[in-house]
């Protein structure tokens, strides 16, 4: 029986150790690191966020505060999320022994409303970085970044993690795309070889090429490349619940707007072509008269419509078709 106190006294330190376990920084790190191995970046909620970023730390944490829910309409959040996942994954992969001691995590607004409020954040996504020993938080508001790719964020993190390994971002090889590409190339080549005699007349058809060229020209001259490069929205609201087809301003346009313009250009061109090519080939005088009237009317009305659209874009434009000249207001 005299062994019991000894046992107890021996057990005591173990007990305290056991009790201390969750609050030790090393353990928190190991905890979250094991979570990260299964899914990285780690999904956080309010409580786990507090736990992870609690002040005595010997590891660093980065948290992406985002709002993925469709209700918030955060385009950038959705664009950045795959980049962020990629960065976290390739970091974890490149740093198997966790030498950089960093946890990548994500906190969505729907899981961490209180955190957003306590940080008084108005914008998302925001990247937080907690360097190891300090009770200091670094903010990176992604909206102001020049480009939001994983490389930029990687460079930013690396700058704040001196003398730690910085595993580079590795984009995974898209095997599916490769397979699809190879198979479809082979398939198309085979199909072409087989169907050559049938396709050749189409390829050599002048009308087809004329149509392709005209469509290309109409597309490019109606600002299609601008849409591609600037990623403009297709339509926009007019603020009163309706749709606005034309955005005011000389340097802006909407996706739908360019399609309307391309259509108008196309119709104008077509009526010019019809007047040049088709009408003089109509043998019947009456019919010809009707066609001329029809195409001229289309030419006239559409062009005046085009001018009126252009006056929306360029406020001071003084010309319009029926009166020819509008005084500047």
């Amino acid at each position: 029986m005299r062994w019991l106190p000894l046992f107890i006294s021996l057990a005591l330190p173990f007990g305290t150790l056991a009790a201390k376990k969750p609050s030790s920084p090393a353990d928190t790190f190991n905890d979250f690191h094991t979570k990260a191995i299964s899914t990285t970046p780690v999904k956080l909620a309010d409580s786990s966020y507090k736990k992870l970023t609690a002040s005595p730390r010997d590891y660093s944490v980065t948290v992406l505060l985002t709002a993925m829910d469709a209700r918030f309409g955060c385009q950038l959040c959705r664009e950045f999320q795959p980049e962020w996942d990629l960065l976290a994954k390739s970091w974890l992969k490149g740093d198997k022994n966790a030498e950089s001691r960093i946890i990548f995590s994500t906190l969505d607004f729907s899981d961490g409303r209180d955190t957003f409020i306590s940080l008084s954040l108005q914008t998302a996504p925001v990247l937080l970085f907690f360097p190891p020993p300090l009770a200091l938080t670094l903010f990176l508001v992604l909206k102001v970044l020049f480009d939001t790719t994983s490389q930029t964020v990687h460079a930013w993190l690396s700058r704040h993690l001196p003398d730690r390994p910085h595993p580079p971002v590795k984009r995974p090889v898209n095997y599916v795309a490769w397979a699809v590409g190879v198979v479809s190339t082979l398939g198309i080549a085979g199909a072409l070889a087989k169907a050559g005699p049938y396709i050749l007349p189409v390829v050599q058809n002048r009308n087809a090429w004329a149509a392709i060229s005209l469509i290309g020209i109409l597309m490019f001259t109606s600002g299609h490349m601008f849409n591609q490069i600037r990623k403009v929205p297709y339509v926009a609201g007019d603020g009163r619940g309706g749709i606005s087809y034309f955005s005011a301003g000389f340097q802006n346009q909407l996706g739908m707007e360019t399609q309307i313009i391309a259509f108008i250009y196309g119709l104008l061109s077509f009526s010019a072509i019809a007047l040049i090519m088709k009408v003089p080939r109509v043998a019947d005088a009456k019919k010809q008269q009707v066609w001329v009237l029809l195409w001229s009317a289309i030419l006239f009305l559409l062009y005046s419509f085009l001018l009126s659209i252009f006056r929306i874009k360029n406020g001071g434009y003084p010309f319009s078709l029926p009166p020819l000249y509008v005084r500047e207001r």
Partner: protein, 757 residues
């Protein structure tokens, strides 16, 4: 199928016959072309009439300065010119890093006029060079269009369109003395010579084409457009099975001589055999040899042998060529795509990798209003003209189609390349409109319902339907227009449109493209014009009040103007060849005074010039360009400059009281807003560009002295203080002085007021 009209000549018939004699037609054509050239020149003179004969914008000032150097020192000195007054302290091997065509052209004109004892100032030649060449461009467009169609009136219409279309005027008003001023003429003329050479298969025309191509290379970096378009045309022709000895002769002549000619320009040097944008031309050159060889072999071998030879030979050659290309690229003999060119294909590339390119608005994509603004009704006549080219698709029509597609793609990607699209738009639109007019303006009307004629028509229609490869719309036979009503209606509409086009062009030119941007014009409340001449005021101040070799630091946009107008050395200028040096200036502007001052001392900067539009509401000022300075500096020193520190935690770019500390401490902010609040009663200080109220206490400058502020505060010049006499740092010295002078200063200085005339 023409049907005779009544036997007695109507008055209209007489009038029509009047123009039928050949010599009279030629005379009329010459007269019309002269009038078109006159119209082209005079519509570009708005700025000279409204302001004065002055060089515009930024780059022209450098060209002007280089031309003056050429005229003063002769050609060889110009060729070897090392300019130590720019890019201080590096200097620039100017003779080897510019396109000398423009300067040599105006130098030659100057000397020719001198030889004719016409005393003319070189500045006037430079100002009026672009309008003069626009007349020539109109003539070149006439020639090019005449190669495309038998209808000579199309050429005249094309010349008229080319002369006045805003897409070309935008770059060639009087005073815009830039490379494009002569380059567009050379572009159109080279294309004309290429078509001529291709049609005739003539070495002479091919050599002429190469000669003008060489001139083009000497004039404008846009020569790559020709370098890519001509091979593309040749390639498309080969693919269509239209290889001919004409093509072989003209292409090989052009390529061999043209490449040699282009390599004479020091700035181009060996680029034509090393960079990827020249590779299509080289590749097609090799391909043509192969095709020619195969055609030769086919004439010598039997069918089966030839087939085997074709597969083995072609496969081997292509494999070898591909391997060679890969090996040379990886070994570094062939440079990968240069940044500017690459940004045309991968539009995201420039945005990420080359902020200096992304910062230039000329490299932005084109929204549709810009197309309509610059080309008006030509933009929808253009596809119609291209369609007409498919009617009898000869080699030269293929060129129009290829050029149209290629040109409209590039014009859509980059605003600046609207210029290369404009010629083909004019040509195609002229073809369409002249066809339309000649169809509806012919006096002869076909007789209705002639049974014989119908028979003929039926036969011929069957014939045309059988012949493959023609347009569907051209299947039935041509009859003509019957009624005068249709003729009158369509030609009336067309006349109105042409009239509207002229009005549009004049309006656009006068409103959008005729401002020199060195001098700003505004309207007074009573409608009279008020000239804001701050730029020249400031540059004149620099010229008169600073040492000959005082170094001026400013953002690179103003480098050429300072060099040209103030004649002072600059740190960086619009020739953006050294990104690091530009980033150094960006860092000095975006850092705090303690960081900037050593940089400025190291570069021996005497004065710093900033452009500030807050008082006037002039939006093109340095605070609005500031983020680009920060970005470019951050690209080189990511640890010291960081863009996000210029944004508030909410992600806003602010300049008022809420601005971030980094913003408030940056040299650019301090220089822009220094003493600005004293113009206003307390609490009323306002920035009219950003539309915000500024704090009551302005920034404090310790290392700079305000030297000059122009009338409307657009340009502010600061003198860099020398080191302190007793070795204090500037902040300490300044605070000591403030401590002493505090009472005096308040007595002496009342609130500053804005000068009002």
């Amino acid at each position: 199928m023409a049907v005779a009209t009544a036997s007695d000549p109507s008055p209209i018939q007489v009038l029509a016959d009047f123009g039928k004699s050949k010599s009279l037609r030629t005379l009329l054509r010459v007269l019309i072309l002269c009038f078109i050239a006159g119209a082209a020149v005079s519509s570009r003179l708005f700025s000279v009439i409204r302001f004065e004969s002055i060089i515009h914008e930024f780059d022209p000032w450098f060209n002007f300065r280089a031309t003056k150097y050429l005229v003063a020192n002769g050609f060889y000195d110009f060729w070897d010119w090392f300019d130590d007054r720019t890019w201080h302290p590096l200097g620039r091997v100017t003779g080897g890093t510019l396109y000398p065509g423009l300067m040599v052209t105006s130098g030659a004109i100057y000397h020719a006029l001198r030889a004719l004892t016409i005393p003319v100032d070189i500045r006037n030649i430079c100002v009026l060079l672009a309008p003069a060449f626009s007349g020539l461009t109109a003539f070149a467009a006439y020639l090019l269009t005449n190669e495309m169609t038998t209808n000579t009136s199309a050429g005249l219409l094309a010349a008229a369109f080319m002369g006045i279309t805003p897409g070309y005027i935008s770059r060639s008003v009087a005073g815009s003395y830039d490379n494009e001023a002569i380059a567009i003429f050379l572009l159109v003329f080279t294309f004309y010579l290429w078509i001529k050479a291709l049609k005739l298969g003539s070495v002479l025309w091919g050599a002429l084409c190469a000669l003008f191509y060489g001139y083009m290379v000497a004039s404008w970096g846009g020569y790559a457009f020709i370098t890519c378009l001509v091979p593309l045309h040749a390639f498309v022709l080969i693919c269509m099975g239209r290889y001919s000895t004409r093509l072989y002769v003209s292409y090989t002549t052009w390529y061999a001589l043209g490449t040699l000619a282009s390599m004479q320009i020091p700035f181009v040097g060996f680029l034509p055999v090393r960079t990827s944008e020249h590779m299509p031309a080289l590749g097609i050159f090799g391909f043509l040899q192969l095709v020619a060889f195969i055609y030769y072999i086919r004439s010598a071998l039997s069918g089966a042998q030839f087939k085997a030879f074709l597969f083995v030979g072609l496969g081997a050659v292509f494999g070898l060529a591909l391997l060679g290309l890969v090996a040379m690229t990886s070994a570094g003999y062939i440079a990968p795509w240069s940044g500017r060119f690459y940004s045309l294909w991968d539009t995201g590339y420039a945005k990420i990798h080359i902020p200096i390119i992304a910062s230039v608005s000329e490299h932005q994509p084109t929204a549709w209003p810009a197309f309509f603004f610059d080309l008006n009704m030509l933009i929808w006549l253009f596809p119609a003209g291209v369609y007409l080219c498919f009617q009898d698709l000869k080699d030269e029509h293929v060129f129009v189609v290829v050029y149209a597609l290629f040109g409209s793609y590039f014009a859509g990607v980059m605003v600046r390349l609207m210029l290369t699209l404009t010629p083909i738009v004019c040509v195609a639109a002229a073809m369409a409109s002249s066809q339309l007019l000649s169809t509806f303006l012919s006096v002869k009307s076909p007789k209705a319902k002639d049974p014989e004629q119908e028979d003929v028509a039926d036969v011929s229609s069957k014939k045309t339907k059988q012949s493959a490869g023609s347009l569907r719309s051209a299947n039935s036979p041509y009859v003509g227009v019957y009624s005068f009503l249709s003729k009158g209606l369509v030609s009336g509409i067309m006349t109105i449109y042409l009239l509207l086009f002229v009005l549009h062009c004049t309006w656009v030119t006068s409103n959008a493209y005729s401002s020199p941007s060195v001098v700003l014009a505004s309207r007074m409340p009573d409608g009279s014009q008020h000239i804001i001449d701050d730029y020249r005021e400031a540059y004149q101040w620099l010229r008169q009040n600073t040492k000959e070799d005082a170094k001026i630091m400013s953002w690179w946009d103003y480098g050429y103007q300072i060099g040209g107008m103030a004649d002072r050395p600059t740190l960086v200028d619009n020739n953006t060849w050294n990104n690091t040096h530009i980033a150094t200036v960006g860092k000095a502007m975006s850092s705090s005074e303690e960081v900037s001052y050593p940089i400025m001392r190291q570069h021996e900067v005497d004065y710093v010039l900033v452009v500030f539009g807050g008082l006037l509401g002039y939006s093109g000022d340095d605070i609005n360009k500031f983020l680009w300075m920060v970005r470019i500096a951050e690209g080189i020193w990511p640890d010291e400059v960081s863009e996000r520190k210029f944004f508030t935690p909410r992600g806003e770019y602010r300049v008022d009281g809420e601005a971030t500390e980094t913003m408030k401490n940056s040299l650019m902010y301090k220089m822009s807003y220094y003493n600005y609040h004293t113009l206003f009663p307390p609490g009323q200080a306002q920035d009219r560009v950003r539309g915000v109220r500024l704090p009551d206490t302005g920034p404090v400058l310790n290392t700079l002295d305000e030297a000059f502020t122009s009338e409307n505060w657009i340009i502010r010049i600061y003198k860099v203080k020398d080191l302190d006499n007793v070795g204090r740092d500037h902040a300490a010295a300044a605070s000591f002085e403030r401590g002493h002078k505090k009472k005096k200063a308040t007595k002496k200085r009342g609130p500053r007021t804005l000068r009002v005339d």
